[in-house]
């Protein structure tokens, strides 16, 4: 989080805006691991909506995408340090 300038928690800026809605995303692709990694913590856990500001719809889509990516071994289920 400290090394990631775009981490949602960085700088305590309470940006309560869904990044997916803002960009006009219709479907969150499980193959797009770059994006998925932005919304999970160092242990590989999915960050809650209160931290990321995702809309409910996108949070559901996102968690499905993460679970698919985990199944296909693109991102880990559990880890000590992801970054």
């Amino acid at each position: 989080m400290i090394n990631n300038p775009s981490h949602p928690k960085k700088g305590h800026l309470k940006n309560k805006e869904c990044k997916f809605t803002k960009a006009g995303i219709e479907y969150i692709d499980y193959k797009d691991t770059e994006t998925l990694l932005r919304f999970i913590n160092d242990q590989g856990k999915i960050l809650p909506r209160r931290v990321t500001g995702n809309s409910a719809r996108h949070q559901r889509q996102f968690s499905t995408a993460v679970k698919r990516a985990r199944f296909m071994a693109m991102i880990p289920y559990v880890t000590e340090n992801l970054r």
Binding site: F20, A23, I25, Y27, K31, E34, T35, A73, T79
Partner: protein
């Protein structure tokens, strides 16, 4: 019968050689075509590191493909893939209208950008 749009990703056993990979990819493609499906795109990602070991292996040969097929084609296809020991994992998704639009946008290369403060290597895994 009405055909649906599907996406499939599968992982092959990495200890095989290139010839065997090609054979297996052809085998899967043939399975789809034999079941009345039409291939749209076959994309071989090649050998990649796995995030966690599967069957005591740390890497895998990824293949990502898109095809159109009737619903009845999926069951025999997945059954054959499950039987084959060299296919370690597979994931089939049926695309709905939104996912299809996303796919078309990705093809054209103008997907909406989520983060504009992009760091280096953002396009590295765009296939």
């Amino acid at each position: 019968m009405k055909k649906e749009f599907y996406e499939m990703t599968y992982i092959l056993n990495p200890v095989l050689d290139d010839e065997k990979f090609k054979e297996l990819v052809d085998y899967v493609n043939k399975l789809i075509e034999d079941n009345d499906g039409d291939l749209v795109e076959v994309d071989e990602w090649g050998t990649r590191q796995l995030a966690y070991p599967i069957e005591k292996k740390n890497s895998g040969y990824y293949v990502n493909l898109y095809f159109e097929a009737p619903k009845t084609a999926i069951e025999p296809l997945e059954r054959n893939m499950r039987i084959n020991d060299d296919i370690t994992r597979y994931l089939t998704l049926k695309y709905d209208a939104k996912m299809k639009r996303h796919y078309d946008l990705k093809k054209k290369g103008d997907l909406p950008v989520i983060f504009d403060d992009v760091e280096e290597g953002d396009n590295s895994d765009e296939d």
